[in-house]
Point group: C2
Chain length 124, copies 2
DNA sequence: TTTCATGTAACAATAGATGTTATGATTCGA
DNA sequence: TCGAATCATAACATCTATTGTTACATGAAA
């Protein structure tokens, strides 16, 4: 599939697609080819690659949008608040990543097939 | 405590402090007074107000920094990905908020006192 | 050799958060 | 009553991260 086609699916730009897919290539999950019949293809085993691995491949972007204002504040009150929140955040992150680790691409394929069959049925 | 003083503690601006504290006032957690001896004071019971309530008072800002690109995508693949992630996100969010619900301001005060005592001891 | 595709750098646009300035309203003490 | 201290709020500015765009180079295949 070309970057152009993927970009259209996502409503974005081919260069943006290449930017992100590049990380997946570095992780060995996809490969890219140039020229005619070029584009992106999945090279990894769909039953092995998980959402967790994708997250890791994409550079482990920050999971939470809220959190500490300062990492090591001099204010003791802020220190207490940070400490109280950090435990909770760590546990929530662990839970999320564990869930992600149990979703393989093959699971997504299976779900997609179900949706696709449903869509075809609707057209009758 | 004045907005000015709080702003200095946080390394920010008094107006920014008022903006945020205004939400806490609406929730009845703090009150503000003008003029001499004015400023902010906590009106709620410290053993009752939790981090969860603060989160709610602040308008329940989005917890996650990652997630769906599109809420209701027409792309079936994206739909499958979204569905797989949403469950995990929901559970992680529930866990986080439950943790927050079990941290009262009084707990923060206790932790602060411990830190404060420790700081004084260090000075010897 | 032409066409189609990625690779990549540089730059632009956008949006959201944060910071700032300015002005008005209120309270309290002298 | 006056003046200083303080919040209330609107308007505007700045910052930052993401996302989008343009341009050009590189490589592969018909």
């Amino acid at each position: 599939m070309t970057s152009e086609a993927i970009a259209q699916c996502l409503g974005t730009n081919p260069v943006v697609v290449r930017r992100t897919m590049g990380f997946l290539r570095e992780a060995g999950i996809v490969s890219s080819g140039r020229g005619h019949a070029g584009g992106w293809r999945i090279t990894a085993d769909l039953t092995v690659v998980t959402l967790q691995q994708l997250h890791e491949a994409l550079g482990e972007p920050a999971i939470f949008a809220i959190g500490n204002r300062t990492e090591n504040p001099s204010c003791l009150v802020e220190q207490s608040v940070n400490a109280a929140m950090e435990d909770a955040f760590a546990d929530a992150e662990a839970l999320l990543l564990d869930r992600f680790a149990h979703v393989a691409l093959a699971d997504l394929v299976a779900d997609f097939k179900r949706r696709h069959a449903e869509t075809l049925k609707q057209k009758d």
